[in-house]
Symmetry: C2
Subunit: 370 residues, 2 copies
């Protein structure tokens, strides 16, 4: 078996044995997809993938969904439980649980509907978290994953160009968000990887806001941050665009600061460099322009089968970068009550530096057809 | 406070006191949205809403996301934890936990990332499931909810009409799925409520399959099942369409059987009638046509803030229908190796019967512009 999913399962099993754990369990979402190619979804959320330290993994699936699990997954063994019921799935998992401490390492995404039954049946001592193990495997992307991330980023880039060419003055943030979602899905995306951000004027100054009914005005910076899922992999990119007339006085300098910080961040990426050093390169550049206090969040986060994976490109983070890691570099400057500027690209760590996954224009200027 | 969210919180608190439980906790997803209007999403999934039996509810939110929680939610009290970290959220919840058994009733959707910390801190005896309580509140929809469900169904209906008018012969199932997603998002949907089903010919005979790369052929029945989220509420409807030439021999009779079963099911819906009686009306009709063995699933499921809520319109189910319940009626006949036929509408139970939420054509005939 040279299939990437089979190889991932083998690596997991090796780690389980090293740890002395009996098994790990993955649930619908990124972890199930990582090991089987089959993501599942809330409708049939009481699937589970039981991965023993030794022997064959088995998908536990409600009766009506077994054919789907069988067709979509690399795992050959599918056991059905009679109903799409969490207690049935917990019961099937309990039958397989060993007796050691950490007998079962459970997916961080597992819903309480199922884990409640496991805690009742096994007691807390025999249940551990599969989070660290799953994260450490998923952190370095293989070639097939990087290729999928590149395709997903290309869809986001294409929509970014399209948005830039719209006559957006007078439309609302929500309407622009609709245009973005429509563009992504029209290019084959199966979903957005997080809810779209369209922050016009003062709304752009709060990086946590999504969009509202505010009309976009001429000459106003608009922070536009979105991504999609394609073949299961997430994209995530941000551009700040000024539609219509000229931007506010200091804006061009702020945009230049953020652009320079993005370049400095990408240039700093290489194997062996710490995540904190990349953050520092970004932060120092913004500081040189005098906006350090207006850069209020970390530089970036891991991206893969989820739009936010727990790799933190943050102040002082000691994680050493390794080839295959994929993360965002997204400096921002937020001028309270006025506007925000954020520019974000995804990068993959290569053998000797970084490759960008995004290549759409980073300028604040719109594309005009006239 | 007459806001529907405030009223929902009051009802929950009353039930908690009746049960002798100290508090319930809702996590991002349908339950958080039900009580606050704010759904949250995986990116900021370590929010929690703590609902005590007495006193004010509080949203626990990572620092960067507090402004979003504050703006989007009816709950006034927001407490921040320093990082978007499950341990921090679990810690904040532990500080609030009472000492009774069932001190904390936890959302069925709560991720293990947070619940692991609660089990460690409280032990299994003080943790219960909020599932039954949340479900019983959410089951009967109020007027605002029915209105949102109607709008969501109208978007799905409009796309259904659009799909019928496509020249779909020669396109793949996946391409038609892309057209459907694009149509839904273009009409303002914020997402699909479950992954689109396009089952052409033999693929339609397995109700659990989604779509693949198979080309749609002339004269072939295609099961098309999809829904979206609009204002947080799900739609879900199915039509079976034959593009191009004439359908297979027995097909018209099968389609007639399924249509008649849908009508019989909708006609049977009324307050006080059991879910099982609705299923029986559907099943008997299909049986009269001689296809009982080919109707391999239950008649329907609840629909609301999720596309599948646990109200089962299934054989023998004793649940008595009440005004405000919303569910699908979706008979299907699956001719193995050949094709499937399924037709699905959503209904809301009214004071004396049922109102359909869908009104797009149910015929198998396509819409041709020529």
């Amino acid at each position: 078996m040279n299939h990437p999913h089979a190889e991932r399962i083998r690596r997991l099993q090796r780690r389980l044995r090293e740890r002395g754990a009996d098994s790990a369990v993955a649930f619908p979402g990124p972890n199930l997809q990582y090991f089987t190619g089959f993501r599942g979804e809330p409708v049939d959320r009481f699937h589970a993938l039981c991965l023993p330290a030794e022997g064959e993994p088995v998908v536990i699936s409600p009766e009506g969904y077994a054919s789907q699990a069988r067709r979509s997954s690399v795992v050959e063994s599918v056991e059905t439980v009679p109903k799409n019921d969490p207690a049935q799935v917990a019961g099937a998992l309990l039958e397989r649980a060993g007796s050691r401490p950490d007998a079962v390492l459970v997916d961080d995404d597992a819903p309480h509907a199922v884990t409640a039954g496991l805690y009742d049946g096994l007691g807390p001592d025999r249940i551990g978290s599969a989070g660290p193990l799953f994260r450490s495997l998923r952190r370095r992307k293989d070639e097939a994953e990087v290729a999928a991330l590149r395709r997903s980023a290309a869809v986001a880039d294409a929509v970014s160009v399209e948005v830039r060419s719209l006559d957006a003055v007078g439309t609302t943030e929500a309407e622009l968000a609709t245009d973005i979602r429509t563009g992504l899905h029209g290019r084959g995306a199966t979903g957005v990887s997080f809810d779209v951000v369209v922050g016009s004027g003062p709304n752009g100054a709060d990086p946590a806001l999504r969009y509202g009914d505010r009309e976009i005005r001429s000459g106003e910076p608009v922070v536009i941050d979105f991504g999609c899922f394609l073949d299961g992999y997430a994209s995530d990119q941000t551009r700040t665009v000024v539609f219509g007339g000229d931007p506010p006085d200091e804006f061009e300098r702020v945009h230049e600061a953020v652009s320079a910080a993005l370049e400095a961040g990408v240039d700093a990426v290489a194997p062996g460099v710490t995540a904190g050093a990349v953050d520092a390169a970004v932060r120092e550049t913004i500081d040189e322009y005098g906006y350090a206090d207006e850069f209020t969040h970390a530089t970036g986060h891991g991206v893969g089968l989820a739009a936010h994976e727990r790799l933190a490109i943050a102040e002082g983070d000691p994680t050493e970068l390794e080839p295959g890691m994929v993360f965002s570099v997204e400096p921002g400057v937020y001028v309270e009550g006025a506007y925000g500027v954020r520019i974000e690209d995804l990068v993959v760590v290569t053998g000797d530096g970084a490759e960008r996954l995004n290549d759409s224009p980073r300028t604040w200027r719109p594309l005009r057809s006239d």
